[in-house]
């Protein structure tokens, strides 16, 4: 008790230095905990991108590639899946539903995705959340579009606005489907997934806008098909980019996956989203482990600052130690006085670091959510967080052993008459 009381008084007496030391630890702890929280949030948001889908099917390429373009709207498909193969699998008795996806166009930097009404019925994210409309509803006309929340917000679109789709992807595109403008029929609620950054139209619309296009070029003026004329053509697509599959019974997933991968008529690839997501996360995880490592070193730097501060104070405190010894303190009291000091600084640093993290989270959460669609769940301190914070305190105590040992040696050699 005496030791703790003295430590508190002594630190209070040196509160300027002590506060700086604590501030260094605070900032480093907040950084580490922040990175840890971001990691958790990023991983969660990643895993939440798609759910309830048993298989993703596309032309044969790599599993990660398929996952990236079908779910994350990153990269491109190398080939498409023929309409016949799609129909065959979609009508298989074990298949409950499918969501076809047709990609390749964009609108002012946002990807355009052709799909069916089943998308709004069966697509799930973050567990069992289904898509909901903030305004309007699914497409009812051929030239209707449904916007993701970010698209509508960034570009300031309202229901009924006209939009022009550009051919190909990329921020600036010279080839535009100007002759077949779309009407905004619905705006989706925010999901925190790539859906927010997607413009949805019907599969038929994708066919319609490309009806007079050949090898990436629109036909010359005389051979063009107007928007109205297109309505009367057969708009059944030749192919889709990929499709999502829901099975009647989960048990059949692997059988179906094997069947699709061994499909003779066309080279197809079926992946299980959970497995592919895990693979992808392992890849992305390298960066986040590196970040974690950097943060850990910052904490180490903070603790070294503390060590320096305590070591520096030792010499001017030799007299103080001799006085304590004269009233009955042993070298072990002197030892524990300094370890306690390191511990108190460490604990205060960790506590204020946690506080700072939560303050920053409270301030930063709306921004993160708005800009990047990352939901930072506040949560409490997880077991992992507690382990990390505990280790920091233990590390502080271990570092405290260094000045403590020196003070212990001094106390033994000085006795009651310090040589200062």
């Amino acid at each position: 008790m005496a030791v703790l009381h003295l430590t508190a008084k002594s630190l209070w007496n040196r509160r300027g230095t002590a506060l700086l030391t604590i501030a260094a630890i605070t900032i480093s702890v907040a950084l580490l905990l922040g990175v840890q929280k971001m990691r958790g949030a990023a991983r969660e948001s990643f895993a939440n991108t798609v759910s309830g889908v048993d298989l993703i099917v596309g032309a044969r390429s790599g599993p990660l590639n398929l996952l990236l373009y079908s779910v994350f709207r990153v990269g491109d498909a190398t080939a498409n899946v023929s309409w016949a193969s799609y129909q065959k699998i979609a009508h298989h008795p074990d298949v409950a539903w499918t969501i076809p996806i047709s990609l390749g166009d964009s609108h002012r930097g946002f990807r355009v995705m052709g799909t069916t009404l089943d998308y709004f019925r069966h697509y799930h994210f973050a567990g069992d959340h289904s898509l909901a409309f903030a305004a309007g509803g699914p497409f009812s006309d051929l030239y209707d579009a449904v916007l993701g929340a970010d698209v509508a917000q960034t570009l300031g679109y309202k229901l009924g606005d006209q939009i022009i789709i550009a051919h190909g992807i990329g921020n600036v595109s010279f080839a535009q489907h100007k002759d077949k403008p779309f009407r905004v029929a619905g705006i989706l609620r925010k999901t925190g997934t790539p859906v927010d950054r997607t413009v949805h139209v019907s599969l038929e619309a994708i066919t319609a806008i490309h009806i007079d296009w050949q090898s990436g070029m629109q036909a010359p003026a005389g051979a063009r098909v107007s928007a109205e004329e297109a309505r009367h053509r057969d708009l059944t697509p030749d192919s889709v980019t990929a499709f999502l599959v829901g099975m009647n019974s989960r048990v059949m997933t692997f059988t179906m996956q094997r069947a699709i991968n061994e499909y003779r008529e066309e080279p197809l690839l079926a992946i299980i989203p959970g497995v592919a997501l895990t693979q992808l996360w392992e890849l992305v995880g390298i960066a986040d482990r590196a970040l974690m490592l950097v943060a850990a070193f910052v904490v180490l730097a903070g603790l070294l600052g503390m060590l320096t501060a305590i070591l520096t104070s030792l010499n001017e405190r030799r007299r103080e130690m001799a006085i304590l010894r004269s009233v009955g303190a042993g070298p072990r009291h002197v030892f524990s006085l300094l370890v306690t000091e390191a511990g108190v600084l460490g604990i205060l640093g960790v506590l204020s670091g946690v506080l700072l993290t939560y303050v920053l989270l409270a301030v930063g959460q709306p921004v993160l959510e708005k800009r990047y669609g990352i939901y930072m769940r506040f949560g409490g301190i997880s077991a992992m967080d507690a382990l990390i914070l505990g280790s920091i305190i233990v590390a502080a105590l271990v570092m405290g052993l260094v000045p403590a040992w020196r003070a212990y040696r001094n106390a033994l050699s000085d006795g009651l008459t310090p040589r200062v």
Binding site: L6, K9, E320, I323, G328, G330, P331, G415, L416
Partner: protein, 233 residues
């Protein structure tokens, strides 16, 4: 037990490991309540002697009996406890912990020694500290909550004396406590210290090179007489 002297050193010799002996004392006896003046210039082995009596040093040979206990035979931590329980120290200067108030400085021995705390009627710890401060001429109310750095040296030495006396230690060791004081305060301080030691029945070992003070004590010794090794040189 009752008649054993406050300090009894017999055939004590001290040397650092692997070094020649620094101090050799055939016999030094200080009776309980006795006030001894010990004259010793620096380098005479005085610090070593006080280290032995304080229990921060252990003799190579011989017995250091304090109040009937041979502390040379105790473990280092038992000697620390013994010092906390039975001894009070006053040094030349910088006696006080700078970050504690006057009162907290006086109460410091009670933080480290339960028996010393127990010798004061329970709950009366603060009263005893105030009484000692009062007896040593420190106006209590105003001063006690002050940081010690605001005190004059004379006041600081009196606070140190109050701390040394808190909880009735059997032995008070004062190592040149007056050498930083001017002549007027010196005599006043000494009288107060001796009165309190007498009142509490504590033996006083007063080390100084100021021989003019010697006559106020029961007995005078010099390190030259005491340290067999000093005599040789």
């Amino acid at each position: 037990m009752s008649l054993s002297p406050a300090i009894d050193l017999a055939q004590v010799e001290f040397a650092w490991r692997g070094a020649p002996p620094l101090l050799a004392v055939d016999r030094l006896i200080v009776e309980r309540g006795e006030r001894i003046f010990l004259r010793g210039p620096s380098g005479s082995g005085k610090s070593t002697l006080l280290g032995l009596i304080g229990g921060v040093l252990a003799p190579r040979t011989g017995a250091v009996r304090l109040l009937g206990t041979d502390i040379a035979a105790l473990t280092a931590s038992a000697r620390d406890r013994f010092r906390g329980e039975h001894l009070g120290f006053i040094f030349q200067m910088f006696n006080l912990i700078p970050y504690l108030t006057v009162l907290e400085n006086v109460l410091l021995p009670a933080e480290f020694s339960r028996p010393r705390r127990a010798r004061i009627a329970s709950g009366a710890l603060r009263d005893e500290a105030l009484r000692l401060l009062g007896a040593l001429g420190l106006a209590t109310d105003d001063l006690v909550e002050r940081q010690v750095t605001q005190l004059s040296i004379g006041q600081q030495q009196r606070v140190a004396a109050a701390r040394a006396l808190l909880g009735r230690p059997g032995i008070v060791v004062a190592d040149e406590p007056t050498s930083a004081l001017d002549a007027d305060t010196r005599t006043g301080f000494l009288e107060l210290l001796m009165n309190e030691c007498r009142a509490l029945g504590a033996a006083l070992l007063f080390v100084s090179h100021d021989t003019a003070l010697g006559t106020l004590f029961d007995r005078q010794l010099s390190m030259d007489q005491l340290n067999g090794l000093a005599r040789v040189h």
